[in-house]
Symmetry: C2
């Protein structure tokens, strides 16, 4: 039988990737409270905002105010997304100590999403990486559409390796491999991760799955079997699927934690406290959580112990 890591790092993206795809805009005060609740739950990474155009992504406006108001814990890192040098300068001015950059494995997607080729997007990160190095700030890199593209369909694992390797050469400490439209299955995950680990150490790779077709946890399981130990997720499953409004998007943090804890894999995170944060933010958004765990909880399911 396959073996599993004894500990997994859960990288929380709800306050950024989650909220930026929600229709309702959450005020700074509630975003701060949400981030602090997630940090109090024991999550080691809570992505806190984005220094992108407030016209393009109004949900992330005021990310500087969020960072200013936040009571940061020493044990937690609060990365913010920066698209380019200008964004990096704003993030630095706001006191960011962790940043992330974002590109994709599919040319059509990158063109539609940021109006650039993949190569151009990497070039845009060069001054970001330079500033980050000067200020001793770790940079994470996202590679989206790694398991399929809404325009091109199939994405070759070699394309994912090429982009991820370019990010690593730029100096990112971790690449997050994203199934942006939630089409991946364990076979695709195995193909992409097999190709990646031949070029990049497994401990520099994170996985970021969407549960649009219900395969996210199966994809996590396959990733764990391939020695990946960092998994992205979004509390309450916030974010939905930008390419199919009404469908599920980000893997919910509670669902991930339920599976990991049931497998005796340590995360250091309290599922109950994450659930509190999720109920708080879905209240602010006026919507129900996408998380199956929270839906069962809200329906009054007895949390009987799983057999292990």
């Amino acid at each position: 039988m396959p073996t599993y890591p004894s500990r997994v790092t859960v990288y929380e993206v709800g306050p950024r990737d989650g909220l930026q795809n929600e229709a309702r805009h959450v005020p700074v005060e509630d975003r701060v409270r949400y981030i602090e609740m997630l940090a109090d739950a024991g999550l080691p990474f809570v992505e806190a905002g984005a220094f992108v155009s407030p016209k393009a992504v109004p949900q992330m406006a005021g990310s500087d105010e969020v960072l200013a108001a936040l009571h940061r814990k020493e044990s937690v890192r609060y990365p913010v997304l920066v698209p380019n040098e200008r964004g990096m300068e704003r993030a630095l001015a706001a006191g960011a100590s962790d940043v992330a950059v974002f590109t994709a494995a599919s040319e059509s997607f990158t063109r539609a999403n940021i109006n650039a080729t993949i190569a151009e997007s990497i070039e845009n990160f060069r001054p970001v990486a330079r500033l980050a190095q000067q200020h001793n700030i770790p940079v994470r890199g996202y590679v989206s559409t790694a398991l399929g593209c809404p325009y091109e369909g199939y994405v070759a694992p070699e394309a994912v390796v090429r982009v991820a390797s370019a990010l690593v050469e730029l100096g990112v400490w971790q690449v997050s491999i994203g199934d942006t439209i939630g089409v991946g299955t364990p076979a695709g995950v195995e193909a992409v991760l097999s190709a990646l680990v031949s070029e990049i150490p497994a401990d520099m790779i994170a996985v970021h799955f969407h549960d649009t077709r219900g395969t996210a946890l199966a994809n996590v399981l396959t990733s764990l079997q391939m020695a990946i130990t960092t998994v992205d997720s979004s509390s309450a499953g916030l974010g939905g699927c930008p390419y199919a409004p009404g469908a599920s998007g980000n893997l919910a943090t509670e669902d991930l934690l339920y599976m990991l804890h049931g497998m005796n894999i340590d995360t250091g995170v309290s599922i109950e406290k994450v659930a509190e944060a999720s109920f708080f933010i879905t209240g602010a958004l006026g919507r129900r959580p996408e998380s199956k765990f929270l839906q069962a909880f809200a329906a009054g399911a007895r949390q009987a112990d799983a057999a292990h």
Copy 2:
């Protein structure tokens, strides 16, 4: 890396296990049409009804009429559930050619569910098995609460093995191991299946997962890695969770098919035709499908090819 079977048998339980847990009662005519649509989709097993008390389970009343009206395909088997000798006699009179019996691995659950001990429930099946043998009718056995019990919590794998072995001794051709309340994780599945396959050949074991906490497909993946090749599912995820109204229950057939097909595992089933059956029956029930695949489909998601 783990290996997977090249072919998996999908055992459809929507018209029985699904419908019997839905609040709205579907008339015989629509149940017949639903079953025929599922059979036309290529599903090799479509559980068609139950010969239980119509007072206790009004949703299954008229199962004799369903069998009488059904245009059966040679390539498809249409099992019906029978709780005891009386039910078996009614099933035989109605022309059933495949039956299933139902017990559990937890004493508290069996007591609450059928007001009997596990041993008594097995004794009840003895005359059923005798009649089945006389009429050359295959019997399937369900073992529910195999991954956890709503009353007792943890269920020991040895208890599951004991009940499954008793059913095999009675002559069932297959045991379906059920996570009735959807609490299982891959660790629990591995523990239970490891214990089972030391006593019962893997090709006599089916798995029946509920997606109440989102783990069903991860649990399927683990089962496939342990050489299990029959998986139960319910079109549209019909059935819900009887122990948490509003929460998800049965793994949806479409979600299962999406993952299997994405892994190049053959099922012989058309996901599009199952989806048609699911939209037909959820229309009759006046509810939306629980299947994530169908929710994505309904939301207009492009069915981009998964990378494989």
